[in-house]
Symmetry: C2
Subunit: 282 residues, 2 copies
């Protein structure tokens, strides 16, 4: 199968190496990589993304047919950072039979009566599938921490528990990719204002978003710490420049396609013990 992306690893700049300190300030949410910040750059990036998305559909079909591996995509980011939009833009076009999206909301009473990974583990993708977590177990070391609902000691312990949980998944055949959709505080302001001004978008308004916005700096610190602590070779975090949706989509699509290509899946073998030459349908 032809893989349209450039050989090499253009996206390496966004991947967080294990064991490094992370300063989000050093990552520009406005970054557009090799593409110009104008209509021409946008058009070229969109064309490149379209090629990747077409390849993704093919690769997912093969993933499903083989049923030997899975891919888990974790999406995190501030409100309005584009988690829903990324799913819509990158994953529409993929056969929904092989793609399961799970949105983690406020935990139910039953979920709260279990450890924080209980509900998440149940939703891990089966072999053959792409699973997408729209928010995830990382909320349990982000919103909970910023609001002081859990102690720092518990949070640090959870970092280890998360790494061990993800290691269990990767050792069982699931590739894991974690994306932090990185927007600036100004960009969030614009997106929230759009929800206020455009009557067609008002239904998306959630006054709680304003409360979380007040805690912006605390969130950035919490993200920096958790990303640095939990980015591993097997389950890396990517800081995705997300002020421009077209570049955000391109980065996510390319990383996903690279991960699927790295699985080197081919057409599944024919079932054993069947003599195809002698088979006859009557």
């Amino acid at each position: 199968m032809k893989t349209p992306f450039v050989e090499g690893d253009e996206m390496e700049a966004y991947r967080i190496k294990p064991g490094c300190r992370l300063a989000l300030k050093r990552f520009d949410p406005d970054d557009t990589g090799a593409y110009k910040k104008n209509e021409d750059g946008k058009a070229k990036a969109k064309a490149a993304a379209a090629e990747l998305i077409a390849a993704l559909d093919q690769m997912q079909e093969r993933l499903y047919a083989n049923g030997t591996r899975a891919l888990l995509i974790v999406l995190q980011g501030m409100d309005t950072s584009g988690k829903d939009g990324t799913i819509r833009s990158v994953m529409s076009g993929v056969n929904p039979q092989g793609c399961k999206v799970v949105s983690f909301k406020t935990p139910s009473a039953e979920e709260l009566a279990h450890d924080f990974l209980w509900r998440v583990h149940q939703k891990a993708p089966a072999k053959g599938l792409i699973g997408i977590f729209n928010r995830s177990h990382y909320e349990d070391v982000l919103i909970t921490r910023v609001h002081g609902w859990v102690s720092d000691k518990v949070v640090k312990r959870r970092f280890d528990q998360i790494k061990e949980f993800e290691e269990l998944l990767t050792e069982s055949g699931t590739a894991i990719l974690k994306f932090f959709l990185h927007i600036s505080k100004d960009e969030q302001k614009e997106r929230l204002e759009a929800r206020i001004c455009d009557p067609e978008k008002r239904w998306k308004w959630n006054s709680g978003d304003l409360e979380e916005r007040k805690l912006w700096d605390d969130y950035m610190t919490a993200f920096e710490e958790v990303i640095a602590a939990t980015s591993t070779d097997q389950a890396p975090w990517y800081i995705v420049p997300a002020n421009r949706k077209w570049y955000r989509n391109l980065v996510v699509a390319e990383v996903v396609v690279q991960a699927l290509a790295a699985m080197k899946l081919s057409t599944p073998p024919a079932p054993k013990g069947v003599n195809f030459k002698k088979l006859k349908i009557t």
Copy 2:
């Protein structure tokens, strides 16, 4: 929103009216409706389907945004009738966040320890979603009956239980559409032979399919009875001519789009109690 399908009800011919006897022989699997059985007809049908599928994506977005209704699509048919292909062709392009496909396989020990609707009920689509059942609770009155694993008395009781279950769903806001993908026995022969001859398709081979093929007539009788017994105004069955994939896709897409259009969903209202004119983001 513009709905591209023709006003009226072209698909009525395929819908099974409640309380009627059904003879599958009177439905031609080769039927292509208003489209010619040549390359020109195929191209026109594909263009019409593409328009419907684009509309479907928009309508699904609205379904998801409103979160007040759900749509359940049930796909049944003989092996190779195109259940997977229909999902792939009609539902690729739809945002997977709003679309959940469930493939019902051989029940697990835990599932068998419950009534036959237990596992199915758990997978009913939540409000806002399109749920697709690739096989369904109908297997429990089809394969089980043809093989004599359950008595006719139990099967007849299950017809009522299915109707009551589906009524519960429809009264709770879920529209239900049930499709029997109708292929001829000759067409199945060709499709099975393709899996034998084409090495790229051999992985799909399942020797069990040949065993079921021997029971073709029994299956047709079982389908006739269950479809006649469980087609209701709220949860109708459609007999989809499925020898030609392009017409099958068109029929399913049109029925689905009609069902979503009938919900008459608009942009959801803005949250109450918010004074949008006074809101200010800092």
